[in-house]
């Protein structure tokens, strides 16, 4: 194994272009720096995500039932919703397969893309974000960052999480004759609840 490593590194050392001719460019922050909730929502909708707007006096549990009336198993990992399945019951990656709606909190969102971030810190188990049929994401409007540059420069999670996923709307595919289908193999829908 180490023979391969040494051989590859040596070949790269012999063959590379002169490093002095290719200095590392400084990190730049380009583009629109609007970090508003409105921009986030507009971007989220382009990628097929949606906002779960509370009807007056409604709790998150009630809003979820309104959005997903057929859901039988709702599993919440946030105090804002109770759900129907205690999250402690989800112990192995496969356990999440029977869930209709999972509820999680994202530590931040990105206005440019409508993306939300999830890591092992927000998930009882990583597959929780993908095996359920639908996901509801609780997001504080104060935790929206402007764009990909600001996200990677400012958010410490990228350097600390073992598993960190930016979800931008639900899973999707256009692999059959170019027809865009929302709800491919991961979640069928992604809704954001601001709180």
């Amino acid at each position: 194994m180490s023979a391969a490593r040494d051989e590859i590194l040596q070949a790269l050392r012999n063959n590379r272009p002169t490093p002095e001719n290719h200095p590392l460019p400084p990190v730049r922050t380009l583009g629109d720096l609007d970090a508003s909730r409105e921009r986030f929502i507009a971007s989220l909708k382009i990628l097929g995500g949606d906002v779960l707007e509370p009807v007056e006096g409604e709790t998150l549990d009630q809003a979820i039932m309104r959005r997903h009336p057929d859901a039988k198993v709702i599993c919440s990992n946030v105090p804002e919703a109770k759900g129907t399945l205690p999250v402690e019951k989800v112990k192995t990656p496969q356990d999440a397969a029977t869930i209709d709606v999972t509820v999680v909190r994202a530590p931040f969102g990105i206005a440019e893309m409508g993306s939300i971030f999830l890591s092992e810190s927000q998930l009882p188990i990583n597959s929780f974000a993908h095996l359920g049929q639908h996901i509801v994401v609780v997001l504080s409007p104060d935790s929206i960052t402007a764009n990909m540059h600001t996200a990677y420069q400012e958010r410490p999670e990228f350097k600390s999480a073992n598993y960190g996923v930016l979800m931008s709307g639900p899973s999707a595919t256009a692999d059959i004759q170019g027809v865009l289908i929302r709800g491919a193999q991961g979640v069928r829908s992604l809704s954001v609840w601001f709180a």
Binding site: H22, L24, N147, H149, Y163, V165, S168, I176, A184
Partner: protein
């Protein structure tokens, strides 16, 4: 594997015969190109992003050994096992050994061009491992026993009816389904149990961050995240050129990747793997397979900047009208035509000719690879190495002789003009004149430029000559 040069032109001809497939293919890819343009016009900083991306990649390639070592050190610190493979065979052996050590018989994988490069599936299947592609397009190609025809949309050359036929055979769905939604749902239903019972999951990697020991996977269907989080063993196969120095560099690349590829702002999933999940094990196999040698090719090393977005394929008039499979290689389209010859110069010697040198590929490339110039330079290299098709070589030889002798050249032109006007079609349009296939020869002119010049300008010559002396 056969070493015979790929007959791209003949395969393309075959593709052109099927009008419905050709028309869809051409329009679908052009639509992706137009969506990419739409995204580009929304960002005033687009050209700055391309410039940054190109400079970061060139810098990284010039210090690749140092960044690879930095990545390895950080990844190991986070509990990732790092392996190195010189070629496809070594890569396959490493993956096979990891699976064997875990007694893993069922492997689910998301799309990875490097595993295609290594021809991994047949190797593992011989070892008794069942490999299931989980990306929809890639699964269609697996069931149809074909290479992916496009690096982003592997089954783009197929129509819904083709997929319905393939799924009917393997998933027992109705062969007459014409709604892609139903077929996508069939894939979801078929894949779920396989995913839940898999022993190991495999992904590729779009970017590797030296600073943190992270690798990043950009996908849309959710299958890569399922493959990585459901089984407790995750193996990622990644080309050694995929590095970037800093986490902050990802901002540039993620903003460019999906916009260039599909014209969507970002992939639905952008996943950062920095270490194994709770109770899990994670392996990264860094694959060279010709890359370190390519780095030493003065005219071609910048092809290693490629982030595999496929924009050059979507815009290429030749690719759109010949289909990815006609290239007979893992990588097709303009980017394929400049990297395939580094894998096998003889076999892929025809591919740099599958271009009109219009330069559109270079203009859309998000990392500014001078693709059309490299296509031209490859032609020169191939001629020097005598890897030129016989007919083309003879024609060039004759053309060279003719053009070197003005009198003979003028006589030939006159003769051609006369023949174009008077010869019967069967003489002008046959296998000796490939130019006359699918198009009409130019109309003959009454007077050649040379005749016109002699008549109108010859007399003015001495005056013009004295003018220039002033």
């Amino acid at each position: 594997m056969s070493n015979k040069p790929v007959n791209h032109a003949r395969a393309a001809e075959h593709f052109l015969e099927d009008a419905p497939h050709l028309q869809f293919h051409d329009e679908r890819l052009w639509d992706m190109r137009q969506k990419r343009d739409g995204q580009m016009h929304m960002l005033p900083e687009w050209q700055d992003l391309r410039e940054e991306a190109s400079r970061i990649k060139e810098h990284t390639l010039s210090r690749l050994p140092e960044y690879l070592e930095q990545f390895e050190e950080n990844a190991k610190k986070n509990g990732i096992h790092v392996h190195w493979a010189r070629d496809g065979a070594e890569h396959n052996r490493i993956v096979g050994e990891i699976l064997k050590a875990h007694n893993a018989r069922n492997l689910i994988k998301s799309k990875s061009m490097v595993t295609e490069e290594c021809d991994m599936r047949p190797y593992l299947e011989k070892q008794g491992v069942t490999v299931t592609e989980t990306d929809l397009g890639e699964r269609i190609q697996q069931l149809d026993d074909q290479l992916p025809s496009h690096i982003v949309v592997p089954a783009v050359h197929k129509l819904t009816s083709d997929v319905a036929k393939i799924f009917a055979k393997d998933y027992h769905t109705d062969p007459n389904i014409r709604d892609p939604h139903l077929l996508a749902e069939a894939q979801r239903q078929a894949a779920r149990p396989v995913i839940l019972h898999a022993d190991a999951g495999m992904t590729g990697g779009n970017f590797v961050v030296a600073e943190t020991g992270t690798f990043v996977v950009c996908t849309n269907e959710g299958n890569a995240d399922l493959s990585a989080t459901v089984p407790n063993l995750h193996i990622a196969t990644i080309g050694i050129e995929r590095l970037v120095p800093r986490m902050a560099d990802l901002g540039v690349f993620i903003r460019l990747l999906s916009r260039s590829a599909l014209g969507s702002p970002i992939t639905q999933y952008t996943t950062h793997f920095r270490g194994p999940q709770k109770g899990g094990e994670m392996h990264v196999v860094l694959v060279d397979n010709g890359r370190s040698a390519r780095l030493g090719m003065e005219d071609f090393w910048t092809s290693l900047k490629c982030i595999r977005c496929g924009a050059c394929m979507n815009t290429c008039p030749v690719y759109r009208r010949s289909g990815g499979l006609s290239y007979g290689a893992v990588y097709s389209g303009p980017i394929g035509a400049i990297i395939d010859p580094t894998f096998n110069e003889r076999k892929y010697s025809t591919l740099p000719y599958a271009s009109t040198l219009n330069g559109s590929c270079t203009n859309v490339c998000p990392v500014k690879i001078n693709i059309h110039e490299q296509l031209y330079k490859w032609r020169r290299v191939l001629v020097q190495h005598h890897e030129m098709p016989f007919v083309k070589r003879e024609i060039m030889h004759m053309a060279g002789k003719l053009m070197g002798q003005p009198k003979m050249y003028r006589a030939a032109i006159k003769m051609t003009e006369v023949s174009l006007g008077s010869m019967p079609r069967f003489v002008l349009y046959n296998w000796l004149n490939p130019w006359g296939k699918h198009r009409e020869n130019p109309h003959p002119v009454k007077q050649t430029f040379n005749d016109w010049y002699r008549k109108n300008r010859e007399k003015a010559k001495p005056a013009a000559a004295s003018e220039t002396k002033k």
